[in-house]
Symmetry: C2
Subunit: 438 residues, 2 copies
Amino acid sequence: MQQSRFGFSEVSKRTPESPISYFMQQAVENQDIISLAAGLVDTGSLPVQEISSALNDILGDPTKAREALQYGTTQGHLPLREKIAKHLASLDKSSTTFSPKDIVVTTGSQQLLYILSEVLIDEGDIVITEAPSYFVYQAVLAGRGAEVVSIPMDEEGMQIHALEERLKQIEAAGNLPRIKIIYTVDYYQNPSGRTLSLARRKELMALMNRWSNRLRAVIVEDAAYRELRFDGPDIPSLKSMDPENKFVVYAGTFSKPCSPGLKSGYALMPTELVRPILIIKANHDFGSSNLTQHTVDRLLENGDYQKHVLELQEVYGKKSRVMLEALESNFAAYPEVTWTKPTGGMFVWLKLPEHISTGLQSEFLKAAMSEGVLYVPGIFAYRGAGPLPDSEMRITYGDASVDRIREGIHRLKKAYLRVKDTKPAPARTASSPKPALV
Amino acid sequence: MQQSRFGFSEVSKRTPESPISYFMQQAVENQDIISLAAGLVDTGSLPVQEISSALNDILGDPTKAREALQYGTTQGHLPLREKIAKHLASLDKSSTTFSPKDIVVTTGSQQLLYILSEVLIDEGDIVITEAPSYFVYQAVLAGRGAEVVSIPMDEEGMQIHALEERLKQIEAAGNLPRIKIIYTVDYYQNPSGRTLSLARRKELMALMNRWSNRLRAVIVEDAAYRELRFDGPDIPSLKSMDPENKFVVYAGTFSKPCSPGLKSGYALMPTELVRPILIIKANHDFGSSNLTQHTVDRLLENGDYQKHVLELQEVYGKKSRVMLEALESNFAAYPEVTWTKPTGGMFVWLKLPEHISTGLQSEFLKAAMSEGVLYVPGIFAYRGAGPLPDSEMRITYGDASVDRIREGIHRLKKAYLRVKDTKPAPARTASSPKPALV
Ligand SMILES: Cc1ncc(COP(=O)(O)O)c(C=O)c1O
Ligand SMILES: Cc1ncc(COP(=O)(O)O)c(C=O)c1O
């Protein structure tokens, strides 16, 4: 934080700048650079016609139009919340539908993550996340002054036995009441592309039941990419395994499966969280854009949303295959480089040999930039004690064209060849400061 | 806060529920009640055609459509920020235009008030507000744990000599660095309808200059109702008297002069606040709805916005005259009842004799509800030490039809007649708890 006339708050001082802004800027300033970093959705498949006709329906009807252009409620448009409840039941092929009273509509699911964290976390409280984890949420946690305990993942997602070991340690230290949230991006995770398997889901819910008389934490199931499934099994949500609505906040969004420009998200949560969330949301904005809520409502009503999701599954499935094929052909000769194989969403997690840093000051990033390709350094997805993995990266096929995906991976290989024989850097530890962001 | 499995944060515990939700609910549940409480805008004059054609322009052009439906930047759509800079210069008839780099677009101006408060205020910090003041902002300040120092108003708005006296006291107590914000709703204030006079504006800016070497506070000029002027002089903003962009955050909104359903607001601020604000906003939502930003951009570009504001000035001017005439004819015989005469915006502030409480538990509110009329109790607009005025209320002609405005005021008179001869209640002091909200 710069020297200033103004006195900044602790929240402000604690909150790190998001790396994404930096990478977005780079990509905007230099169109020759292929960005495999930015978390944009596929621009070409945005549902322009569908949204246009939904808006014409709304604005063509004077009563609906005026309702949509007036203030709405803080909790969100009731018909939309009713449709969301049904939509979630249909995703889970479940016959029990949760109540629209337990749903809150937000300005993207990001706002829900923020407000829920405000409602639950005091400085020093503990939040359990996957390692790696969604870095914007890591920044939120830093702002709240939370202590992050991260649980390793494997191909089946968060390791539930490791989670239970940590719970026992935290309990032994007398800190169990400080655990407020267990956060999982359980479908095609940002950043790793991994999915929590059905077996692990059952283990996690069994654990919650076992610990329920002493653990106060809520599970946040961030399902942002869930509907973008193009391969693999159709796995039910953790929420569907919480029939009494006790343990899980399900955070969903229309940004990924429909349009980020609407910036509409929602959450289904235990009843007793609704009022505290609404009290804080009333102070943030007393309700997200009513017009974009009505738009989503219309798309769910006329079925265009559901149709569009099917198209997107094709689009991302194809782009993911292009990226995976490019990775295979470029890195076949370098088995020390490994990556995940997502079955949905838009992210691949790539690991270089441990001695090659991918961080902001690294030789590898310099090489990549001069080859003309960008990624997000893996370090931003880690927090907590111990040396942080520093030779990983997130790459995305979200917005790049298939040609640019192929060329981008080729450039990444060239960058790798430039640095692969450099000397190992000194090991990074948690106490070494994160690289400055500007 | 109810007993709960979950552990809520200090922020959550400190934040009061907004009274508005309660009153909205009442009005929705009983259509016979005339609500002079809800802060809705005039529904009949919402710019349906204009917004519809703006959206058709955007969505009819594939390039623009895709840009608007994709994620934007955290700071907001640059062409919109450029137009806002010009728009502000034209409102102030000023030849110097501030930079779009110092403008941030938010989800309504409410979000700006919230984030700025997060960025500047730690628990125990001081915020200076008018008395009475906008109650949603009072709730934000309660959530932050701020100490509120309130400065009395008269017909010219905040009393600047009283402000300076308080600054001296606070300085003498060694607390000057704790003052973070001086908050003024300086045009047709919510709730009182009053405007800060030109003379007072000059006094305030002179004070800021005099104290600038030791006072770190920023002025927040909340100009939400500014453009809805139907009478009285066209007064320049405090911002226009801050040519070096040092002292004033100007918070504006498109909710009141255009459409709340777009939920689009903005602020022009000293440069060094921009980055800290964006870092927090990145965690809230990394950018407000891009589609609604593009919509406002188009309305400013094609001139429909400017034309619409002129129409709204007529609409609210007419409705305010209806309300003021109704007040005069109904309360002519009761000179102990007084009210403000706004020259813009949508609020009138009504005072009953001091012994008549207007609070949530009051006989007067009961009488009003059984007569079928609602207002917002004045107590919510006050905070700070000393006995809080409890016999005032905010009434609005914002959304009610002229017939309902007339009938609503008539019912208010009937409610007054029911209670006017009741016994004085014991004096309320700051230490007596605020009435519970549910
Ligand atoms: C895992 C995850 N959660 C939540 C979000 C928030 O998206 P939005 O606020 O647009 O719904 C994102 C966006 O990138 C994400 O990757
Ligand atoms: C004084 C004042 N400021 C700010 C706002 C915020 O409005 P919005 O967030 O819709 O721009 C309001 C809304 O009622 C208001 O009265």
